[in-house]
Subunit: 351 residues, 3 copies
């Protein structure tokens, strides 16, 4: 597909600086672009690449446009504009309706005639699959699963019994939705399994990354609301709720019964303890440990950044001496007659 | 299934406060219960829900019973009692013996006639599958695998050559047991693979979560003893041993050749270094880094909790200055004539 | 296979201390060896096991040979020598060429006649599979995938459209290569997906662990160079580049667009932020958080080790008071007339 800058400016509401007749047929990075390609600038880290780019046009904001040496499509939100142009240039491949001969579909399943069921997929009893759903090869659906219209399961996705997925969702390979939550009661002779009888309910427009796991509820359902985006290798414990339009980056783990609000942004490799309430619009930086509920929507962090090990070893050793060094402070304060405020400060930690 | 409170009290050894003829047929949370449901109280965080619950009966301990406004089944261990009642109300579905027509089973495999082999499962040479084993769809077993009676592989579980699983185990989808351990010798031209010739041996009553990986031993076997419970997305390196009845929460990684004792409880997202010995009954809180062996069974931790980022940034900056601030302390001590103990303290860190 | 110590000494360039006619036919650990087995000593932690080993021969370095009570094969690099001997004793099983009857292969795929395609594998359009490639059961390959000669996909590996793998690679079960990167643009009504149109290109002699995920590039390709070794459950974001012969241990996450140099060694459970440059030969200890680019090749760390929780709680509380304790220092310095250097030090943190 080829589009002119004039068409793009009109369709996406951009100010065009340059010849409206120029055509592009693909996207590229600023550094990698050749003529015929559209690039974008959203991260200021890459601003210096504007000088040398060979792109036919760059999508950027007004402030950066001055430094652009090639035609520009100016928009206050260049990244979203780029996303929409790219979606136009690279449409999702149309699916081929029908059930592959090597799929295994239970007779009681209701599969919309416009859906596509791939090779070696296994569809269980009473599964309902909506219009234009793509079930990639190797997907497995247990009894009573339902999948809404236009959802795409890339390949090798496992949906266990009673899991429901909304419309227009995307689920990547290896995701496991609806495995038993981790619930055991301690007894003298070992651990007794607590039956996990809830399900997982997932809203519309949710994306779930490769090898991410979302456990079924212990009693009630685990809930993922509309528009949530989960990256790869995220673990979502039983009875977690994730509010609409929250995004969570890879390798994050969320322990059971924690409720995360709407529009939160959670960085990768974050660990969130169980039974917490995280309010709407919370931002958590990557690699944080969240151990208490959050009721004020701001940014939270607990990351200590890597240092050269020879420096880090000294800092870690100092850290282990913090209690002793506080005692040295107190002793000093006493020695110079500043002891009065110290006692209270000591108390604080002794609680 | 419907059960009366009288039957439950007798069968599970509870004191009943309320009408023994009342019947329940399902479980529910305190907050979500309607008449006909049994709920429980084990986590004090939910105690205030006792006031308003509509459950027909609540399983709880004697201390909490006073605040219970509906019938009560009183037991010193309400959670385990609840688990057993729930198992009675929600029995594991019976398996349908036989090999699915779309399974691929090697002629040399020995499959007990009471076992169930699901669609698209692939069973390799000389595999032995015991009585009443459920092999879900998409499971793969390499040469020489053995699976003990009553074990259930939910779906899409991979057991590589020579792996053995005991009786009554449960393995969730995406688990990979017996992949090569991570062993390479550095040489001038790159890394030389060290053959991984050990296997994985897993005891009875072990549960293994979705997308958890347990590597085969380098020379000897990786060992998981009876009653171990592993949550989702856990990584177990080669030659690890995990002692009986230890439970490990999700996203934890255990490096090679570490031995974990019996009855340990390890929180999620914990990282445990290699070649360590962790003694029986050790408790490790979530998100900890374990870098040394543990010989005393108590609780260990290394988690710093997330703070608002504006506060955290100051703390992290202070942390990086710990060495300098210790030097300020020393200088102060010298200035006020308290220097004598300082030298020794400095030495400690300079080692 | 049985080999004499004389043969081993000649073939692997070792000095032999002992009878060249002695034969071994297997490997074992020092502690577990019986006569007929070859053991090795590389980790000094196991040196004391030399005294009591029953191995027929031990591969070790000259310094340790003095303490060896059984025959010795002396080599400056005993671990690599052991690896090569073990590879000789335990050769990779030969593959059986041909396409399994239960595999699903698109008519447009080009499969070398010497390759092996396992049961339930699904091979898409225009896939190219080289000589002696082993595609294990349950593997899935999307449109346009290519796999170089002698590569082995153990089982249940997913390669999405356009992914290319070089020669002699090993990929373990559950790995997902080429799923969409995590790219969304925020808009008022939610998140707009940014099409992920790059691919993943992987060089020769790469090993990829179980359940590891490598995302396709957003625009350009994600690149894994020759000889890279990735352990289990690693997440590699879109547009990451990993330089030749770098090794990364399990559970590590690498955010998008980060470039890692050659010959780096990265410990497990490390979190690396996006858009960073990590130079060649960098070493990062396990459980570190890397948040800034690294331009100097040394060892980096940010791990605080677990302590008994009763001690840790005091340290964590002290940590939270670091800002206040620095203020106490400043006050003390003023009190004893040492304030002059303090102001500058305070400024540093106030920036």
């Amino acid at each position: 597909m080829s589009l002119t800058l004039g068409e793009l400016a009109v369709r996406f509401g951009c100010e065009l600086r340059g010849d409206p007749a120029i055509a592009i047929d693909r996207v590229a990075t600023l550094a990698g672009a050749a003529p015929g390609a559209l690039a974008f600038l959203a991260n200021p880290q890459y601003r210096r690449q504007l000088e040398s780019t060979r792109a036919s046009v760059v999508v950027l904001n007004a402030a950066d446009a001055a430094q652009c040496t090639v035609p520009a499509l100016i928009h206050p939100d260049p990244y979203a504009t780029f996303a929409r142009i790219a979606a136009l240039l690279y449409p999702t491949p149309a699916i081929v309706p029908g059930v592959h001969a090597a799929a295994v579909v239970d007779a009681s399943a209701e599969i919309h005639p416009s859906a596509s069921i791939g090779a070696t997929a296994v569809i269980g009893e009473r599964v309902r699959i909506g219009a234009r759903v793509q079930v990639g090869p190797g997907c497995i659906m247990g009894e009573g699963v339902s999948v809404g219209a236009d959802t795409r399961l890339a390949a090798r996705v496992t949906l266990l019994r009673q899991v429901s997925l909304g419309e227009r969702c995307i689920v990547h390979p290896g995701a496991v939705i609806g495995a038993d939550g981790f619930g055991f009661a301690r007894e003298r002779q070992g651990w007794t399994k607590v039956p996990q009888i809830g399900a997982v309910r997932i809203g519309d427009d949710v994306e779930i990354g490769a090898n991410t796991t979302i456990d079924r509820g212990a009693i009630e359902d685990t809930l993922i609301e509309n528009g949530v985006k989960l990256d790869n290798q995220i673990q979502v414990g039983h009875n977690v709720r994730i509010g609409a339009h929250t995004v969570i980056a890879g390798c994050t783990g969320i322990s059971g019964s924690t409720h995360i609000g709407q529009r939160c942004m959670i960085g990768g490799a974050t660990a969130i303890a169980g039974h917490l309430e995280i309010c709407d619009d919370t931002v958590i930086s990557g690699s944080s440990n969240v151990t208490r509920s959050i009721s004020k929507p701001e940014m939270y962090s607990s990351t200590l950044a890597a240092e050269p090990a020879r420096i880090w070893r000294r800092l870690a050793a100092r850290f282990k001496r913090l209690d002793k060094e506080a005692a040295r402070l107190t002793r000093l304060e006493r020695a110079v007659g500043l002891a009065s405020r110290t006692a209270a400060e000591q108390d604080e930690i002794d609680e």
